[in-house]
């Protein structure tokens, strides 16, 4: 049977290839993801360890707690007093010590805008060239910076077209300053750290820029020869006291890397999830293709059984075929993935998310996982068709059209399907609504639930194919007609070109006229050139251009449409399986669209409710916090009647890290607050110990006005506050934290205070004059952006769109896999109906009608997949929205229409090759086909 299996595959290479593609794409995504993330990880590891190369120990101030993910941007670590540096130098075993500070420093381009790419940070630090062992930077050009000078990274230098010796604007905590560009630096051997920019200063300048005069962020220490790192750390800890944290060089590198490693880990899982989806869809395609193939090979299997082949041998042969396809596809996928890694990198680049890379990293794990997963998925998908093959009775060898026996459980199929789908919903709901589950558990339940739902719906779908086909057929026809109309000029032009070139029976003037008109219609597609080449190649005898060809028409005729619909209904099981593959991808796209729409709509609603100010000021990237100097400057602008910057920080309350905010008397004038207990005067009366809190937060803890709240700041200070007011937050969120103290209290207890948003009211409201005045005043802060309410909404939502597009692109992979599924099914079914098609042609169906029929079938199948997918996606989306607090359900009508159109396009494209084949059948041969 090995012989039978292998020969079988070789004899049907094209079909095997199309089947294999289903797996190749998914496996490619797996290997590509691993290579990409491994490479990024490797690059970052190199960066961080490089950074602490010559350092044995690092001293930092103890921070009371670590920030949560949402509080990470702008989280301010505690600092050391400069005196600690002198102390350090005196400690036993210390050969040398260097203090340094770091902070955010934007490089301003010559046009006044910040030099940045995507969300990459603008890094600034102090540098001391006299101690090269502690210096991670190397000088590429010019000189190290002296007082009030700056050196920038090579990539920024080139990008901004700067000159060494010239003045360059740098902005940090205060207004932008012009400094002399002393030189160009590299980080080790890298000229760029992804999109991050580097600005280096000498210590005093850096301390001034970052508002850390007299403070240090870290002290790097080198040990005397003979002193071990452990010894050094001990000495430092005892010498400097309990306010500091000492780590080894590697330890500090690890700590610095941990945030990035977390992100890379997340990115890896995220991308692998999409690879998993593509493979899931692929398994549907394989199962379907194999089923059809086996049905077509009934006579073959029956013959084998007649001459003494056992059921097990038949099973073995089918499984072996699947195994071979699986292994070969996995290998190809693995290699393709390596190419894909480069592609994914470019994708992230394009969205402005440049990641550092230093040559691709290939780990053995990548190869093993890719091969294993690809082969396994293929094998599993082939099991059911393989078992069906064993049920072929020997009598099928002689009896024409003997139907495959249904199997013992066929009667139960619809009930099982419903059960599976319901179980899936149950699992999904459990994962979503059960309290107390860890994130991994939630995702697991959700994943399993989704899988079961898809299986169940796919199994059940065959029952609704018939009515669905009736329903979607006219829609498909209409849309195809629309597309035909749109493309008609091109199709007609192409026909005209060929008419002019090849129609020997027409007069020359007519032919020239036709060719010219055709050129007019299609020149931008270079079709005239194509036709000329066809003619040339025809003359050389390599290829005979096909002529005459029917003139293209627009309206599909009723008979083809009717036949197509009936063909799709003839074998509901098969149509359903094919459509299901497309359903999965489209359901997920719909789900994402529903969620995004929910997020967007809810957010916009909450902004509408709360944003009563005239202007808002945020950072250029819309989310980073700005130093309070921006608020102070804006406040002083002529015509400003109210100004409030909402402070942003994190505090530890009751053993959980929370986001807290800072408000002032003007806040209710710019943000509408829905008071539950308190009024608009409350925010101005908070003093140094008052706080206003969110209603839900207070309810959860049984707190009311007057209850005490204890806050622990990152620097370790404990603040005893009491609740002066409670407010209700709209579903879409608010600019406030759970607990909000007065800005005064905030500034007194937090280092380098920042605002997430600053809101202003001006006399006369939003006018060009007011806008101009604000922009002028904020000239020194290029990182600040002035917006009115509409601009604010647009900007905040824009980030969401970028993420959404990435998700859609990743899901497109699954849709492409299902596209191949449809091509496969269609091609196989055309092959199967050879005699029937021959008959239709013999009794008068034209080639064009045949092609149209096949195309219509494809479109109907695709649309069925779309309907199923959209309905399922909305259902899943509804469930998720019900669970997530800050979104409300909103139907993304536009996206849904695009999804339906995309399905039709998929249907049309999938039909191209099979339709051509069908229309080109030699009628006589087809009629005799056995």
């Amino acid at each position: 049977m090995t012989l039978v299996a292998i020969r079988g595959l070789l004899g049907r290479k094209l079909r095997a290839t199309l089947t294999a593609i289903a797996v190749i794409l998914g496996v490619a995504m797996i290997s590509g993801t691993y290579v990409l993330t491994d490479t990024i990880q490797g690059a970052f590891d190199a960066i961080f360890s490089e950074s602490y190369r010559g350092t044995n120990a690092v001293v930092t101030a103890k921070t009371a707690f670590e920030p949560t993910a949402e509080g990470d941007t702008g989280f301010v670590q505690a600092t050391l007093p400069q005196s600690d540096l002198e102390k350090t130098k005196q400690i036993d075993g210390v050969a040398a010590a260097l203090g340094g500070v770091a902070g955010e420093a934007q490089i301003i381009k010559k046009d006044g805008k910040v030099l940045t790419s995507g969300g990459a940070p603008s890094l600034g630090f102090s540098v001391d060239p006299s101690q090269p062992r502690f210096n991670s930077l190397t000088l590429a050009q010019g000189a190290w910076p002296k007082t009030n000078e700056v050196a920038i990274d090579e990539a920024s230098y080139k990008k901004g077209d700067f000159q060494i010796g010239e003045g360059i604007q740098i902005a940090s905590r205060g207004p932008a300053e012009t400094m002399k560009l002393s030189g160009v630096v590299r980080f080790g051997a890298l000229s760029s750290l992804g999109g991050a920019t580097i600005a280096a200063f000498d210590l005093a300048t850096a301390q001034r820029m970052f508002d850390k005069v007299g403070r240090l962020d870290q002290i790097r220490v080198a040990a005397e020869t003979g002193v071990s790192t452990t010894q050094l750390i001990d000495n430092l800890e005892s010498g400097l006291g309990p306010t500091v944290r000492v780590r080894s060089g590697e330890g500090q590198a690890e700590k610095d890397a941990s945030g990035t490693n977390e992100f890379i880990g997340f990115l890896q899982k995220f991308l692998l999830a999409f690879a998993g989806i593509a493979l899931f869809v692929g398994s549907f395609v394989i199962a379907n293709t194999l089923s059809i193939t086996i049905a077509q090979r009934t006579r073959e299997f029956a013959t084998i059984r007649t001459i003494g082949g056992s059921r097990r041998q038949v099973l073995g042969s089918v499984i072996l075929e699947a195994l071979v396809i699986g292994v070969v596809a996995s290998v190809i996928g693995l290699l393709l993935g390596f190419l894909l890694a480069r592609g994914l990198n470019a994708l992230f680049d394009a969205v402005g998310f440049t990641l550092p890379k230093v040559g691709l990293v290939y780990k053995p794990r990548t190869v093993i996982v890719a091969l294993l997963v690809g082969t396994l998925v293929t094998l599993l998908a082939s099991l059911r068709p393989a078992f069906r093959a064993t049920r072929v009775p020997p009598i099928a060898a002689v009896r024409e059209g003997a139907a495959l026996p249904e199997g013992r459980f066929a009667r139960w199929r619809p009930y099982v399907a419903v059960l599976v789908a319901v179980a899936g919903f149950a699992a999904l709901s459990y994962g979503l609504f059960r309290s107390g589950l860890g994130t991994t558990q939630v995702l697991l339940w959700m994943g399993v639930g989704a899988l079961l739902i898809f299986f169940g719906v796919a199994m059940f779908a065959s029952r609704i194919v018939v009515p669905l086909a009736d329903a979607v057929s006219p829609v498909g026809t209409a849309m195809v007609a629309v597309f035909s109309v749109l493309f008609y000029p091109i199709l007609f032009g192409y026909w005209l070109l060929r008419y002019g070139m090849f129609e020997g029976r027409a007069g020359i003037p007519k032919r020239i006229g036709a060719f010219l008109l055709g050129t007019l219609l299609t020149f931008f597609l270079l079709l005239p050139v194509v036709v000329l080449v066809m003619w040339l190649v025809g003359k050389l005898g390599w290829y005979r251009p096909e002529w005459p060809v029917e003139r293209p028409g627009i309206i599909a005729d009723k008979s083809s449409r009717g036949l197509a619909r009936e063909n799709a209904q003839r074998n509901p099981q098969r149509t359903a399986s094919t459509a299901s593959a497309l359903m999965i991808g489209l359901a997920l796209v719909t789900l994402v669209a529903v969620l995004a729409q929910g997020i967007r709509q809810t957010f916009l609603n909450s902004v509408d409710q709360q944003f009563v100010a005239d202007y808002a000021i945020t950072a250029q990237n819309n989310f980073s916090p700005l130093p309070i100097a921006v608020e102070t400057t804006a406040e002083g602008v002529e015509g400003v009647t109210a100004a409030s910057g909402i402070r942003f920080g994190q505090a530890r309350i009751d053993n959980s890290t929370q986001t807290i905010g800072g408000v002032d008397a003007d806040t209710p004038k710019v943000i509408h607050i829905d008071w539950v207990d308190g009024d608009n005067a409350t925010t101005g009366q908070l003093g140094m110990d008052g706080a206003i809190v969110k209603e839900d937060w207070a309810k959860d803890r049984n707190l009311t006005v007057g209850s005490p709240v204890k806050l622990l700041t990152p620097t370790g200070k404990t603040l005893d506050m009491k609740i002066d007011g409670i407010f209700d937050e709209p579903t879409g969120g608010s600019p406030f934290g759970n607990v909000n103290i007065s800005s005064e209290a905030f500034d007194a207890n937090y280092e380098q205070p920042t605002n997430t948003y600053t809101f202003l009211n001006m006399r006369g409201g939003v006018t060009d004059e007011n806008t101009a005045r604000l922009n002028l005043a904020l000239n020194d802060f290029p990182n600040a952006k002035v917006q009115d309410q509409q601009e604010f909404k647009d900007n905040q939502v824009a980030g969401l769109s970028a993420v959404l597009n990435i998700l859609y692109v990743l899901l497109a992979l699954s849709v492409i896999v299902s596209l191949f599924g449809i091509i496969n099914t269609l091609a196989l079914s055309v092959f199967e109906r050879t005699r029937e098609l021959g008959l239709l042609r013999a009794i008068g169906m034209t080639r064009r009608q045949t092609a149209r029929m096949i195309r219509q079938e494809s479109v109907v199948t695709a649309l069925i997949g779309a309907v199923l997918g959209i309905v399922l996606g909305i259902a899943l989306g509804g469930l998720l929205v019900a669970r997530i607090d800050f979104i409300e359900f909103s139907l993304p009508v536009f996206t849904l229409i695009v999804v339906a159109l995309a399905a039709i396009v998929v249907g049309i494209i999938a039909a191209i090759l099979p339709a051509r084949r069908a229309s080109r059948l030699n009628v006589l041969e087809a009629l005799q086909y056995e």
């Binding site: 006579r299 020997p394 002689v398």
Partner: protein
């Protein structure tokens, strides 16, 4: 039940298709004994049940009632594994449409029954078989590269390679022109006469039936005539009688 020395026995075999008012009785209680070493033809007009009878005798189909024995074993009680073994060792089949596996060569097709059993043919016997069917130079060709007659020769060789107890041939010349058909019939006749193979052939062609040692005529699911060797004109006359 004794076999009466016969290779294949049928006892009161009935076959009904469908149920209730739409039921069709394809066979109404057929009993026969097939002698070893003989060519037995089963003839009848369409709808007579001859193909049904053959399928049941060959173990491809189960009778609604009655019993079939092959080489003394009642096949009605056999499970699938035992049936499979029976097919390997005792039954050969020649189909009307050849039923060769398209992706295997002629030689591989011929060997297939043995390959499935994990065995190889005895080289001398194999060579003899190939010579007898006259395929010496076509062994490495695929079925698509062979003519109808050549394909049927391959099929016959495949049926004979296991030296089965009985070979069933279902309209073996139905898909061939008369000259090629005659060659095939000669081949089948030779296997019986020279090598003692037992052969049961279903046919509607008088010429084919005239090669048989015994002709069974079927009509409306029953055996209506059991004759020895007959010449074609007589066979045609008998058929006309039945069709009336």
């Amino acid at each position: 039940m004794s076999t009466n020395g016969a290779v294949v026995n049928a006892r009161e075999v009935k076959r009904v298709y469908g149920e209730g008012s739409t039921a069709v009785e394809a066979l109404r209680g057929v009993s026969l004994d097939v002698e070893g070493g003989r060519l037995t033809a089963v003839m009848g007009p369409s709808g007579s049940g001859k193909s049904t009878l053959m399928h049941i005798l060959a173990g491809l189909d189960r009778p609604t009632a009655g019993e079939v024995l092959i080489a003394g074993t009642s096949i009605g009680t056999l499970d699938d594994t035992a049936l499979t073994r029976l097919r390997r060792e005792h039954i050969g089949f020649v189909f009307q449409f050849f039923n060769l596996l398209p992706m295997l060569t002629a030689e591989e097709n011929i060997r297939l029954p043995l390959t499935l059993a994990g065995e190889k043919p005895e080289p001398a016997f194999f060579k003899q078989l190939i010579d007898n069917v006259g395929l010496g130079d076509r062994l490495d060709h695929r079925p698509s590269e062979l003519s109808g007659g050549q394909q049927q020769r391959v099929a016959i060789a495949r049926a004979l390679v296991t030296r089965p107890t009985v070979v069933f041939a279902d309209e073996p010349t139905g898909n061939l022109d008369s000259r090629t058909g005659a060659e095939i019939l000669d081949l089948l006749r030779a296997s019986v006469t020279e090598y003692g193979q037992t052969l049961v052939m279903v046919t509607h062609d008088a010429g084919a039936a005239s090669t048989a040692d015994r002709i069974l005529f079927l009509a409306d699911g029953e055996i209506v005539k059991d004759a020895g060797h007959m010449e074609p004109p007589d066979i045609s006359a008998a058929m006309n009688e039945l069709s009336r």
